[in-house]
């Protein structure tokens, strides 16, 4: 059952990722990315990462991608279609490089971690309580830095977005 779910979700993720990188319209790309994210959320559940799975849908597929869609609709981008890459040779070269990277990395990882024991069912793994208690003890500093990061991002987004072209004469 788990294996079946893995293959369905994994296949879905790869398929929608391929749709993303080949799409020419931003809306299609955003929709494929959302599909990928849902598939990944399913995989997280398979891996007992319940909190992260929920956050994946709420934050990533929800908030972040809705922001993307908002911007796409707001701008109503009418791009000239058709041209995907600068040149086909470069495209092929890069694709080969990318595919090569997959195998190199996957293979090199296999060597280091050959057979791992599956985690025991000792404690409720990946629940809100477990992750939360780590977040506020061991990882307090990154958590606080993240709050500063969000502040800087909000300020930046506001001033960049409200800038008028009229007051931007060189």
């Amino acid at each position: 059952m788990q294996l079946l779910m893995f293959y369905i979700l994994g296949f879905g993720a790869v398929l929608s990722a391929l749709l993303l990188v080949t799409s020419k319209k931003p809306v299609n790309a955003a929709m494929s990315l959302i599909a990928t994210m849902f598939c990944l959320a399913g995989l997280y559940v398979l891996l007992d990462a319940h909190l992260v799975a929920v956050l994946q849908i709420l934050v990533y597929a929800g908030a972040v991608m809705v922001l993307f869609l908002f911007v796409i609709m707001l701008l109503n981008i009418q791009e000239k279609e058709g041209r995907l890459a600068g040149s086909t040779i470069a495209l092929q070269f890069v694709s080969i490089l990318g595919v090569g990277m997959v195998f190199v990395i996957a293979a090199s990882l296999v060597k280091v971690r050959g057979a791992l024991p599956t985690g025991g069912e000792l404690f409720p793994f990946g629940t809100t309580k477990a992750v939360g208690s780590m977040l506020f003890t061991e990882y307090l500093l990154p958590f606080e830095i993240a709050s500063m990061l969000l502040l800087a991002a909000i300020v930046g987004a506001v001033i960049l977005a409200k800038r008028r072209i009229s007051d931007a004469k060189p």
Binding site: L109, P142, L149, A152, G156, L160, A168, P170
Partner: protein
């Protein structure tokens, strides 16, 4: 009082919040804001000096305070104070956003300080992102909005791509060792360095800092971003941001580098390519800031030589070079800001007649260029000397030879700038530049520092050595 250990960071956090409040009041007093920023930045230097001798660790041993981190915090605070010092006329940025410039500069400096102390990948990642985001926004705030936004977009895309690479490296290290703590990693990793995956993971995990330092595969943002950003922001990127990147690279390589030949070879290749690409590209540049950007790429290559020597001398050399870069690059940008006072970009030929328009600035430029090129009585020479001798000790003769050739190549374009400043006559009559007394004092002080640190480097060298000693 464990919180005393954290005092520089707390100070910069409060300073940033102070500007948040000021920006919410909405009213703009340009002079007042600049004075507040300058006062806070100078006070920050004082706080960093006071906390120079502190030692300890915080946050469940994920945050280390030692001489190394405190020396770099001092350097970063000095860098911020210098950059704020030339922000008195932010012609490159619209007046409406001046609060925000300070509001973003202070958290960015805070983030770089967190970076030099963090010894946990998560802390490193989040603070790197904080410093990057502040800079993406600052670059995009250029008054000439086309240039700023385009440079900001390029910086953003390359930066996010580099951080994805970095995360992939971190996850490989996590998977192969089971820990995210750099200190635990330092104990496990030496035994695993023969695995290709570990070396690849480590290199990828450092790629975020290669990006910050503008090392070869991640260097192509530098020229556009320097050109597109306001002069003051470009000065900040060229000094503070670089110093922080050097700090993290030195610490991580010192803790994790071990004795892997592959790792050293890859770093050597990156160093050679960075030097050569940077110097050759710099020759072709007309725009002064683009030229400086490529010279930064070349300097990143020199610093890498010190780091990959992996001996105390090499680390001390890299630390010393970070100090040198801070002063030299800042001096050139000081001249740039004053000559291009209206905030537009400056061609190299635009320096023409500088020796008559302002002899002091011309002299500062000359000393800074000599220092960047590595000519003897300056701090740049001492830095290069320390790095090259450390590399020779480890037998990297070929590497040092290539670096020497590169130094000669770089001499060409530095002399070209000097020729523009001293020998070329300006096309139209230019009025003398009027400098305020503090700026004159600053320029004079920088010249004195560059020469004095070149002739009597003893104190700074000892400081760098002691800081490097704590790393091993």
């Amino acid at each position: 009082m464990k919180w005393m250990l954290f005092s520089p960071e707390i100070f910069y956090l409060l300073a940033a919040l102070c500007f948040l409040l000021l920006s919410m009041t909405g009213r703009l007093h340009r002079r007042r804001d600049h004075h507040i920023a300058l006062a806070l930045a100078v006070a920050g230097v004082a706080v960093c000096v006071a906390s120079l001798q502190l030692e300890g660790s915080l946050f469940s041993e994920t945050y280390k305070i030692d001489l190394f981190s405190q020396v770099f915090k001092l350097l970063l605070s000095v860098g911020l104070a210098l950059v704020v010092g030339i922000c008195s006329e932010l012609r490159g940025i619209q007046e409406r956003y001046e609060h925000e410039v300070y509001l973003l500069l202070f958290p960015c400096t805070l983030a770089t300080m967190l970076l030099v102390s963090s010894i946990h990948w998560l802390g490193v990642y989040v603070s790197l992102e904080l410093s990057s985001y502040s800079l993406y926004i600052l670059v995009a705030l250029r008054k000439d909005w086309t240039q700023g936004i385009e440079a900001g977009l390029k910086y953003f895309l390359v930066g996010v791509f580099a951080s994805a690479m970095m995360l992939f490296g971190m996850v490989i290290l996590y998977g192969t060792t089971g820990t995210l703590d750099v200190k635990q990693l330092a104990q496990i990793l030496p035994g695993l360095m023969s695995h290709a995956a570990v070396v690849v993971g480590l290199l990828l995990a450092l790629s975020g800092f290669f990006f910050k330092l503008a090392v070869f595969p991640f260097h192509f943002w530098a020229a556009d971003v320097y050109q597109g950003a306001a002069h003051q922001i470009a000065a900040y990127i060229a000094t503070v941001s670089k110093v922080a990147a050097i700090a993290v690279l030195v610490r991580m390589v010192a803790m994790l580098g071990g004795s892997s030949d592959y790792f050293v070879h890859v770093l050597a290749v990156l160093s050679v390519v960075s030097m050569t690409v940077g110097n050759l590209a710099a020759i072709a540049q007309k725009d002064l800031k683009r030229l400086l950007a490529y010279s930064t790429v070349a300097h990143a290559g020199y610093v890498l030589i010190g780091i990959l020597s992996m001996n105390p001398g090499g680390y001390a050399g890299a630390i010393f070079y970070a100090m040198a870069i801070l002063v030299m690059k800042f001096t050139v940008f000081l001249v740039l800001v004053k000559v291009a006072w209206d905030g537009t970009n400056l061609e190299v030929d635009g320096l023409a007649g500088l020796h008559r328009r302002s002899p002091l600035l011309a002299m500062a430029l000359m000393v800074a260029l000599f220092s960047l090129a590595g000519l003897p009585p300056t701090v740049g020479f001492t830095g290069k000397f320390l790095i090259f001798t450390a590399a020779m000790e480890r037998g990297h003769f070929a590497l040092v030879l290539i670096a020497m050739i590169n130094v000669v190549i770089s001499l060409y374009y530095y002399l070209l700038m000097l020729r523009a400043a001293y020998l070329l006559e300006p096309q139209e009559q230019c009025s003398p530049l009027s400098l305020s007394a503090p700026i004159k004092l600053l320029a004079g002080a920088l010249v004195v520092v560059m020469v004095a640190a070149g002739i009597f480097p003893r104190y700074l060298m000892d400081l760098a050595r002691n800081a490097a000693q704590g790393l091993m």
